[in-house]
């Protein structure tokens, strides 16, 4: 291999804003191949882009053809999308296929995007949860089982195949322009539901900072599991206030009442299985990632909320 060869990277979830930010940052120095299972996106003439299901045999052809040095796996289906079975197939079995192929074709760096939801929202959570804390989400709701399973799987590969150099990132709420997850949709709305009497502490990371974190991980060498979150916190209801959202209180006790109300409403931005995340805090400690990769977020909470406040009524 010539010394000047540019690294070849496979980026999954290319239709998402985060992947496109990451691609934007890496395209100068790396050759990128973009894939997404949802749609084919055009990212410029220099980036081959495919709409492909990881579980199909043709997926392997990409590895045969491009000889990837790295895989950045951002294509996790969020809990608010698709059915449980489809999510399980894509997130767990699809990732397994991806990791198997990465091993088979000698990929030397794999970055997997997970979520802080895996810790689960329970009233007894301590604050500043470390990476070694147990993942309680699977015991709380069936809808987060695939997220926890994806992590377990990545963990097995992390230890079994050290040459893959797997880094698993568990970010807090990713928000900002173009982000379409439940939290971002909630903050962009006029009214946001709150559980009466509960305003848990939350963390938010700007999408540009998250993209920086992923790029730093790509350039870094450490493998392992890392929380990614700024060392700053805000109560949920205060965040809504700063985003200019009016609050829509939902009776919170007994717990069966809000669950029933949310099931009946079935709001995408406030799904019933994420209800406890709006009740109990899940505050993660992102300091080891910051130290190991020299990460320091550039956008403050004020910047983030300012964006949502100013874009309430787009022209």
């Amino acid at each position: 291999m010539p010394a000047s060869k540019r690294p070849q990277i496979l980026v999954t979830g290319a239709a998402g804003t985060l992947a496109q930010e990451v691609i934007g940052q890496l395209r100068e120095s790396c050759d990128i191949v973009a894939v997404d299972f949802r749609e084919q996106v055009w990212l410029g003439d220099d980036i081959p882009s495919y709409c492909i299901d990881f579980n199909k045999r043709v997926f392997e052809d990409l590895f045969r053809r491009f000889h990837f040095d790295g895989v950045i796996h951002l294509g996790r289906i969020m809990s608010s999308q698709e059915t449980r079975l489809r999510r399980y197939n894509a997130n767990v079995l699809g990732t397994q296929k991806l990791l198997d192929l990465s091993h088979k074709y000698g990929v030397s760096r794999v970055i997997i995007l997970s979520t802080y939801h895996v810790y689960g929202a329970v009233p007894f959570n301590p604050a500043l949860i470390d990476e070694e804390a147990p993942l309680k989400a699977a015991g709380l709701t069936m809808d987060l089982v695939d997220s926890v399973e994806l992590e377990n799987l990545a963990n097995i590969y992390l230890w079994r195949y050290p040459d893959l150099n797997i880094a698993i990132l568990r970010p807090c709420n990713i928000v900002g322009p173009g982000v379409r997850n439940a939290m971002s949709t909630l903050l962009s709305g006029e009214r946001a539901p709150v559980l009466a009497g509960f305003s848990p502490m939350m963390q938010f990371i700007h999408i540009d900072d998250m993209a920086d974190a992923i790029v730093l991980t790509w350039h870094g060498e450490k493998r392992g599991i890392y929380n990614v979150a700024p060392h700053d916190w805000v109560a949920y209801q205060r965040a809504l206030e700063l985003c200019g959202c009016s609050q829509l209180p939902i009776p919170s006790i007994p717990p069966v009442l809000p669950r029933t109300v949310l099931r009946l409403l079935n709001l995408r931005r406030f799904p019933p299985y994420l209800m406890d995340f709006f009740k109990y805090p899940v505050i993660i400690d992102g300091r080891s990632f910051a130290e190991d990769f020299g990460f320091s977020p550039k956008r403050s909470l004020d910047d983030i909320f300012h964006y949502y406040r100013e874009n309430k009524h787009p022209v």
């Binding site: 959570n125 604050a127 509960f198 848990p200 502490m201």
Partner: protein, 271 residues
């Protein structure tokens, strides 16, 4: 104007505002810390507690300057009186001391986070879920923490058992040793009489998911409260068997007991 702003304008003087800001706490850009402490809410809480502290419970404090002004500190006290009034009063005593005040955290029972409004409010005043991980991280932050090693055994005790210390857990000693925290024993006298309890209705407590359900008058009586602070105790972090850790805990328990006796001797009348 929000309720917080309204209360702040009417209750918080400029001196108080500056005083709390001066004490300083490790907080984020919007005034919160990871456990939910909020600087602005605390100022309102401070102003309200001052009234209760000075006029209702007429608290007398002995030796508050013994609590170190810097570094990790565990303030270990007896627990009594069904509600965490004792924690509030100790916290206020330390926050309002003339020389080098501190804003301590109080470790609270595990059922509080499930109670709407109250759980969040306690967090904003600096109370933290009583979890060893929380305590460890707070000590690593060089903060002062109020702990009640008796837990619900202490707060839920009946009037006939007043001022009898229940079993102390060993957790606080392990944390003090690991984080090189100074232990300050504190005896609180008077809180036992604030909500005298005749019995604990266990089936009702179980039904409501509470640690206990006291059979008591539904009022908080204005008992006079004495807080006696003992000499700081420092323990090394040697790798010792649990038996010796328990022996150290007993030393602290005896020191707390001594402070209670001192408080009872100082007390001239209950109300």
């Amino acid at each position: 104007m929000s309720l917080t702003e309204f209360l702040k304008r009417h209750l918080v003087s400029r001196e108080l505002d500056e005083r709390i800001d001066e004490i300083g706490k490790p907080i984020g850009s919007l005034g919160y810390d990871p456990w939910g402490y909020n600087n602005e809410t605390l100022k309102i809480g401070y102003a309200l507690t001052q009234e209760i502290y000075e006029k209702y419970f007429r608290v007398e404090v002995d030796g508050i300057d013994r609590i170190p002004a810097h570094g990790p500190v565990l303030i270990v006290a007896n627990h009594s009186g069904q509600l965490p009034i004792d924690g509030l009063l100790i916290g206020f005593a330390l926050a309002s001391r003339k020389v080098r005040p501190r804003l301590p955290r109080a470790m609270i029972e595990r059922f509080f986070p499930t109670v709407p409004y109250l759980g969040n409010l306690l967090n904003q005043f600096g109370a933290v879920l009583g979890d060893p991980v929380n305590c460890a991280k707070i000590l690593a932050n060089d903060e002062a923490v109020i702990v009640f090693p008796e837990g619900v055994r202490g707060s839920g005790k009946l009037y006939r058992d007043r001022y009898q210390l229940k079993r102390f857990g060993n957790g606080f000693m392990h944390l003090a040793m690991e984080y090189n925290a100074t232990i300050v024993p504190v005896g609180v006298v008077g809180c036992e009489e604030t909500i005298p309890t005749l019995a604990n209705i266990k089936p009702l407590a179980r039904l409501l998911g509470l640690p206990y359900f006291p059979l008591a008058a539904p009022v908080v009586l204005p008992a006079k409260v004495h807080i006696c602070v003992g000499e700081p105790m420092v323990f090394d972090n040697d790798n010792i068997p649990e038996e010796q850790v328990t022996a150290r805990v007993e030393l602290v328990k005896a020191a707390v007991g001594e402070m209670i006796t001192r408080g009872l001797n100082q007390r001239k009348r209950i109300f």
